[in-house]
């Protein structure tokens, strides 16, 4: 249960070694009932491909966009998301929490 990120980190290494631009996103803080625990990872490449999860689907799209920026600039970013809103409820994501996500380039 604490080791599901195995493939994600291996993918991050493999993607980088294959010459792709790669960023790693990590949930570093959560408040309320966040969907994914602190330490959860998402790996993103410069084409927008990704593997893993930081929010069970709520904010992945936004993280991927920011990650592509981070791959270009090389500068890490910390993103904050409130995942409690009407839309989230309507599509069945009962998150109701806030998460902070650290995005860094793999170099």
């Amino acid at each position: 249960m604490l080791a599901r990120d195995e493939d994600i980190l291996k993918a991050a290494e493999d993607w980088r070694k294959a010459g792709r631009g790669v960023a790693l996103a990590t949930v570093v803080e959560t408040w309320g009932s966040a969907p994914r625990p602190v330490g959860s990872n998402l790996v993103i490449d410069d084409q927008g491909n990704f593997l893993g999860s930081v929010s069970g689907g709520c904010v992945e799209g936004a993280v991927v966009t920011e990650a592509i920026d981070v791959i270009e600039s090389g500068k890490p970013k910390t993103l904050e998301f409130g995942v409690a809103d009407e839309t989230a409820w309507k599509v069945g994501l009962s998150c109701g929490g806030t998460i902070r996500v650290f995005v860094e380039k793999v170099e």
């Binding site: 980088r16 570093v28 625990p37 170099e107």
Partner: protein
Amino acid sequence: MKIEILKTLNEERAARRAAIVVTHQDSGEQRLVKAEDAARDPLKDILDKHFRSGKSGMEETPQGKVFLTVHVPPTRLVITGAVHISQALAPIAGLLGYDVTIVDPRTAFASIERFPDVKVIAEWPDVALPPLGIDRYTAFVALTHDPKIDDPGLTIALKSHCFYIGALGSRKTHARRVTRLKEERGFTDNEIGRIHSPIGLDIGAVSPAEIAVAIMGEITARLRQADAA
């Protein structure tokens, strides 16, 4: 993250060794601490806490806020004895996230029908256990009541760094076991002291399932609490 850090981290994980990535929030500076190096680290106490809980998290340090990404291997439970208690113990351990392996040379006991979804090895412990590589994220439990099966298993567990060893049996049975382990296998009192017997927390367990709960309670305490007996 530097690819060297990522590479080393993946190597540690593949080898079932724990490691923590320390990231300074302000500078973005990053380093990897292997479990074996934690005792010499300036953040020793904080690192210890996180290695034990297995949880990632933010921490305040004299150098500012750091984020710790904790990677510990999945815990394993190795049992000798495909017995009644094991039938309850295996699914409970599974719920707690353990990879469970049961070893019992008696093929009538070690049948797949009795243990769906569990790895069962119908072999003697001296044959079955060494390839499993019992390590510090493994708990070992001897449940057969039969010294021919339990003793060789305990011998291998006592020579390993597994975090928990338990053996079923009354105080009388255990006293005889201690004598055997000393006289026949050359262990010291200190070494034998690692064995939890009577096995499990004292919760008045009666049924096999209750005994299984008592055992998993004790294993959990040993895994998570620094000063657990």
